[in-house]
Symmetry: C2
Subunit: 652 residues, 2 copies
Amino acid sequence: MATDTVAPAAQGYVQPEVDVPALTALLDGKYAEVRNLVRSNLAEYASILDDAEQLSTDEFRERVKDVVVEMAATGQTGMGFPQEYGGGGDIGASIAAFETLAYGDLSVLVKVGVQFGLFGGAILQLGTKEHHDAYLADLVTGKLMGCFAMTETGHGSNVQALGTVATYDVAAQEFVITTTTEDARKDYIGNAAKHAQVAAVFAQLEVGGKSEGVHAFVVPIRENGKPCPGVRIEDDGLKMGLNGVDNGRIWFDQVRVPRTALLNRFADVTPAGVYESAIENPNRRFFTMLGTLVQGRVCVGGAGINASKVALAIATKYAVRRRQFEATSDEHEELLLDYGMHQRRLFPLIARTYALHFAQEVVASQLHDVFSGITDDDIARRELESRAAGTKALGTWHATRTIQECREACGGAGYLAVNRFAALKADTDVFTTFEGDNHVLLQLVAKGLLTDYASEFEDMDQLGMVRFVTNLAVETVIEKTSAHKLLERVKDLLPGGDQWDQDAGLLDPDYQLAMLRFREEHMLAGVARRLKRGIDQKMNPGEVFSRVQDHVIGAANAHVERLVLEAFVSKTRSLPAGDQKVALNLLCDLFALSTIEADRAWFMEHGRLTVQRSKAISREIGSLCRKVRPIAVDLVDAWGVPVEMLRSPDLI
Amino acid sequence: MATDTVAPAAQGYVQPEVDVPALTALLDGKYAEVRNLVRSNLAEYASILDDAEQLSTDEFRERVKDVVVEMAATGQTGMGFPQEYGGGGDIGASIAAFETLAYGDLSVLVKVGVQFGLFGGAILQLGTKEHHDAYLADLVTGKLMGCFAMTETGHGSNVQALGTVATYDVAAQEFVITTTTEDARKDYIGNAAKHAQVAAVFAQLEVGGKSEGVHAFVVPIRENGKPCPGVRIEDDGLKMGLNGVDNGRIWFDQVRVPRTALLNRFADVTPAGVYESAIENPNRRFFTMLGTLVQGRVCVGGAGINASKVALAIATKYAVRRRQFEATSDEHEELLLDYGMHQRRLFPLIARTYALHFAQEVVASQLHDVFSGITDDDIARRELESRAAGTKALGTWHATRTIQECREACGGAGYLAVNRFAALKADTDVFTTFEGDNHVLLQLVAKGLLTDYASEFEDMDQLGMVRFVTNLAVETVIEKTSAHKLLERVKDLLPGGDQWDQDAGLLDPDYQLAMLRFREEHMLAGVARRLKRGIDQKMNPGEVFSRVQDHVIGAANAHVERLVLEAFVSKTRSLPAGDQKVALNLLCDLFALSTIEADRAWFMEHGRLTVQRSKAISREIGSLCRKVRPIAVDLVDAWGVPVEMLRSPDLI
C-alpha cells in the first residue's frame, strides 16, 4: 500500500475544466450525425425500457421486433449495406450506429445485430449478386427477417467441427440439409424461435461423397408463421437476459434447397456436381469465409464499452448525490464520491472506458477501410481479425466487471429493476461468450502473434498450431514473432537504455508504452520457449499447450492492452494544448498506471519495476483520482448517453 | 508467468482417492441430520425452481410464502427459537439449516431469513418475555408474518442516522411513529409489500423532547391484507432477482402503538415517560442492540458460500462432459477440464470454497456459543461481530465472482434460464450489499483491529474513530493493535528467523500462515502510521481517512483471509492420515498459494517474496491443479447439493 508523501505537483499543472459538448464531439468523431440520429431514436422509443419489465415475454418479443423495424425505417440499421439496396453504403457509420444503440435496451441491439449484422452480413459477404438481389432490399427494411444458424448444441467455438450436413443431390440439383445427431441441432439462434423466415445455415458440404468443409446456405425455415416442411423449431425459452430476442433451436430433416442456395462467393458447386473454389487450401477457405463476419465482433466489443458507459454514468451521478456517514464534519454526511475508496472503485473504470473507446475507434476504422476496399490485403485482414477479437474480449469483460462494480456502488437501490442495472447486467452477461468466447478469442490473438500472421499458421486449427510451433526450433519461432530480438530491442523499447525506465517520469507516455511493450514481447517469447521446451521433454503437444495456456492468454491480453494504450496516447497527443488535452491526459495516465499496477507483480518479477517505483505508482494513482474527482461528472456526461437511457429514478 | 521445470514430487505423495460420503460427513459436521432434513425438503419442493420462471410475480410470491410456511412445519426454519415456543433451541442448527437452504431457490431462502432471522431475531433478541409470549409461537409457524423495517431510502449502512421518529406521548402512554421526510421512508423491506402483518420498526426514540437514539418497536402494519390506518405501503416492484420476496416501502403517519411496543430488552420508557437503560453510553447501547442481530450476517455469508458450491458443481460436471477442439489427438476433442486454463479458472475457486466453508463453520460455532451463553462476554461478542462481518464480505464476494466465472465456463448454455445460473446470479447479486455493505463491513473489521476491540472504540462512529486514532500518538495506536511490536514479532511469525521464509517449503502450512500473518500485521501498522502522519500534516481527519481507506479495507481483507486459512489448516491438521487428509491438503495448499499469488506484488514490495519464489508459487499452483483434476468431481459431489438443485439439463 502507498504512503501519503505528496508528490510535487507536475510542473505547471492546472486543474482543467471540461467543455462537455466539445468532448462529446471529440468522442463522437466523424460519425457524430449518425450517433445523434440513434440517440434521438433511443429517446423516442424510451418506453421500451419499461416494456422490458412490464410485458410478457411474447409481447416483449413482438415489441422489440416492431421497434427494430421502425428504427430500420430511419436508416439507422442499414448504414452498412450498399445504397442500391436501400443501405447507407458506409460501414464505419453502421458500427457507430450499432455502438450507440447499446445505450438503450439491449434486446433491441441484439435483434438488430442478428438481423442486419449476422444474417444480413452473411448474405452480403458470403453471397453473390443473385443473393444480394434476392434478399438485401427486403432484409434492410426488416420485411424479410432472417437468422444466422451457425452454432450447434455440441459446437460453439469450434465451428469447423459442426455436425449439420448439406449433401449435393446432382439429379435434383439440390442440397439436402440434415441434422445428423442431437448435438448437431442449431442452438441459441437469435430470431429463430419466432420471427425468422429464412436462415443462413452453416453445414458440412458434401459433394460426390467428399466433404468440402463448412459452407453457408440460405434456407427458408418458416412460412406464414409455421416451420417449413422438414424443419423443426423449438424455443430456447427464458434466458438470463435479452428476453426480447427469440432464440431457438432448429433441426433439419432432409430439407431440400436449390443449388443456388449456396452462398457462393468463395466456393461453388456446378450443376453437374463439381466443387470449385479459388481458394485451394480448405482451412484457408474456411477462415476466409469466417473472416468476413468479423464485423459482429467489432460490434459486440463496441456495445460492451458503451453499456459500461451507461453504468458508470449512473454510478457517478449517484455518488455526487448520495451521502453516507459523517466523515469530515458532524454537520453533514459525506458524498460517496469524496471517499477515496469510492474514487478508486470508479475512476480507473472511467479511464479504461475512455481508453477502450479510442481503441474501438481504431478497430472500427480498420474494419471500414478493409471492407470498403481501401486497405484490403491479407495482412490487413488478419490484423483486423486479431484486433477485433482482442478488443471484443477486453471490451466485454470490462462491461461485466464495470456494471457489477457500479451496481454494488449503488447499494440496494441498484438492485431494483427500475434502475437499469438489472437489465444491463443480465443483458450484457452473454457478451463475454457469444460472437466468440473471450478465452478462445485471446488464443486467436496469440496465434496471430506467435505466427506473425503468416498464412500457413493462420489456416491452422489449434492442434495444428501447437504442433507447428512446437516442432520448430525455438529460435525460429522467436525470430518469426514480433518478440524476436528481445534483448537487442530492449534499447528500442527503453529509449534511454536498460536503466532508463527506472528514472523516467511515471506520467511520461513513452515510459508507460515501453512498459506495456516490454511485457508483451517478453511474454510472447516466453510462450514460444515454453512450448518448445515441453516438446523437447517429449510431452504430448496437447498437454504442453494445456500447461502453457494461461501464459498464452496472458500474452494476448498484454498485446491488446498495449494496443489500447497506444490508441489512447495517440489520441491525446493529437490534441492541441488546452483543458481538453489536460483532462484526457489525466485519464490516459490513470489508465496506463492502473494497468501497470494491476500487473505490477509481473513487472517486478521481470526486473522492470523496483519496489519503490511500484509503490510510487500506487501513490500516483491516488493523486490522479483526486484530480479526476472535480471533473468526474463532466467526463461521464461527455459520453452523451441520452438522459432517458439513464432511467434510474431512485439514483440520479 | 511460470516456467515448466517440474518440481520434484513431494516426498511420498500418492494421488488420493476421495470417499465422497465420508467427505460429506466431514463437511456436514455435527449438524448432518439438520442438513439432510433441509436437503430432502429441497428435493421435495424442487418444482419451485420451475415456478420461479413460469409463474407471474404475484403468483410466485404466494408460492414462495406457501413453501416457507410448509417448510416451517418440518421444524427446519425454527431451529434457533426456544423450544417452549415451538423452536428447536439450537442456534448452530439454525445456521446449518439456513446455509443448506441456499442450495435451492434463493427467494425461499431470503423469505426465511426475513421472517425467522430478521423479524424473529428482533423479537427474540431485542424483546422481553412479554413480546416472546405474544409473538414467537405464531411467527415460528409462519402464522404471523413480519418484516424488519430498518433501512430507509436515505440511510442504509448508517443506521444511527435513521430519520423515522418514535415520540412518547405520556398522556396516552403510546409511541407515535412518524416518517419525517421522504428520505426516511422504510425501503427495500422484505415481506412488506404483501405478507407482513407486523413490522419491527427502527426509529429515533424521543422522550420528553430528548432524543435517545435508535430503538425498535413492534408495529402492526397490515390487517386483513390492508395497511393499517396511518400506514402507507408501496411495492418496490421488480428486482434484479429474488422476485419471490415482496420488498416494499413503508411510510408512517402518526401511527400510535402502546408503550409496550418498545422492544425493551436494553432500554425502556416508564409509563410516566422516564427513559431507562442499563447501558449508559448511547453509542454503546446502539451497538449492543445492533450486535444482537449478527446472526443475519453469519447466515448470508454461509448462503453465499453454498450458492458458490451449486455453481461450481454444475461447471465442474459440465467440464468433464463437454469437449472442444482437437488438442491432444485428431480423434476426439478435448474435455474442457483437461485444459490448463480451465483448471486455473475453476480449481482455486473450489479450494477457496472449501476454505470459506471451514471458516464459516468456525464463525457459526462462535455464534452458537455466544448466543447460547456458553462464552458470552464483551470481547467474545466483538470478535464474533468482526468475524461475522469479515466472513460475510468474503463469502458473498466469492459468490459473485464464482458464479460469474462458472457461467462463463459453461458458455451459451449457461445463459439459458433453465440451467440455474440466471437465477443464481440475479438472486445472489444483492448479497454483497445487503445485511451490511461489504466495504462498510470490512471497515468495521479494521476498526476492531485498530482498536483491539477496546470498548471506547467499538462505540464510536466512523468520524469518531478517525479522530480518536489520529489523535493518539502513533506508538500508542500501534501498541494497542495486534500489529504492535511488528519487528520484534517477525521472529515469532517466521519461526526460523527473518530469512526462514525464503527457504521454507511452499507447502508448509506454517510458511503459508506466516506469510498471511505478516501481511496482516504489516498492513495494519501501516494504516495506523498513515492516519497519524496525515493528522501531523494538519489534514482534515475525514480527508486523511478518505486517502487511507483502500489501505484500511486491504488490511481488513488480509486479516479475514488469515482467519480463513487458519480455519482450513486447523481442520486438515485435525484429520488422521489418509486419503481424505491428502485431498484436503491439496485444496488447502491451493487456497493458500493462490491467495499469496493474488497479492504477490505486495509480498515482493515488502521483502517477503523473491522473484524466484514468486514464480515458484505460480508453478506449484499449476502442479496442484493437475493433482486436483482427477478428484475434482468428487470434491464438488462431496458438498451434497441435491441433484434436483443442480437442475441444468443442458449442462450435466
